[in-house]
Symmetry: C2
Subunit: 153 residues, 2 copies
DNA sequence: TATCATCTTGAGACGGCTTATCAATTTCAA
DNA sequence: TTGAAATTGATAAGCCGTCTCAAGATGATA
């Protein structure tokens, strides 16, 4: 029973994202392919990935899945509003937008350590600023760069 | 007189950064070269640059200054704490840390309009989060993406 | 369900940005 | 001034992500 609840919850969540994708595809005359479903399912299980990461993860399920397809699909997710791209170091990270609240980062410029955090109060103030300027926020990016305790010594 | 003041102020600021560089060089058995002085002077006049930008700017003063030297030097500035690298799209931006500005952006995903804003309360909360995690912030990036009033209709 | 215009894929070529290589040059401590 | 060590400039190399294009998949339509 507990298991059933957990499963149906995860499933409904995945289905919701799948619907967002389906609508986006329909609106832009694009097609739902086996690869896109496969990549979306794997993507939703994680908070953020790189194309390379997914390439290795999915190699087991589909050894012929190309890296270019993963890049194309992740960019498609960004356009559909399911993912968000972020440039970290030399690579591009794709964040799962549905994991809202865990999108802010504290980045050590010394050792590269990344600490994730969420702060409702900051979110609220962001909304306030947006409203004041006539905007409705879709997503945001907040990165704090500094030195962690260890790197200061 | 007014001119003198402005000049001496700018000069003392540049001298301060030059000292930071000199100390870093001494500490790491590195040498102060004509190129490093030239690049630092130009760098301090701006808020943020790319290696390519500086390459073109400095071509007038020293046509033989190599792009690799500029990359090496800007990275050196980062290690010395004078500059900070940020990855923006495909390029790396080097920010002048002494220009600690409040440059937060509200970006319309519809028409691309960018509204700048600053919010002390958000800054304060950022400091709070950083402190709680043992960090000391050097700089930050906050971007809110959404639709402006006009694009919503 | 068969058709077919259109979209997508996979493999690898390509291109932009940054770093590595190395001989020649410059720096600076002695 | 000398010489060991660092730096430079030119360019090759490397990495990441996108583009190309022939072959294959999709789905609206009949």
């Amino acid at each position: 029973m507990g298991l059933f609840h957990a499963d149906s919850h995860a499933m409904s969540k995945a289905l919701k994202e799948m619907d967002v994708l389906r609508q986006h595809l329909a609106k832009h005359q694009l097609k739902l392919t086996r690869q896109r479903e496969l990549i979306l399912t794997a993507f939703l299980r994680q908070e953020h990935v790189t194309a390379e990461t997914m390439y290795h993860q999915l190699a087991k399920k589909d050894p012929h899945l190309g890296l270019a397809t993963i890049y194309r699909t992740l960019n498609l997710f960004c356009e559909a509003g399911i993912a968000q791209a972020r440039h970290f170091g030399t690579q591009t990270q794709y964040d799962n937008i549905s994991h809202k609240g865990h999108h802010d980062h504290l980045i050590c410029t010394g050792c590269g350590t990344i600490v994730e955090f969420e702060n409702c109060e900051i979110e609220r103030l962001q909304e306030e600023v947006a409203t004041k300027n006539g905007f409705v926020i879709q997503t945001h990016r907040l990165e704090l760069y500094g030195l962690c305790a260890r790197c200061r010594h």
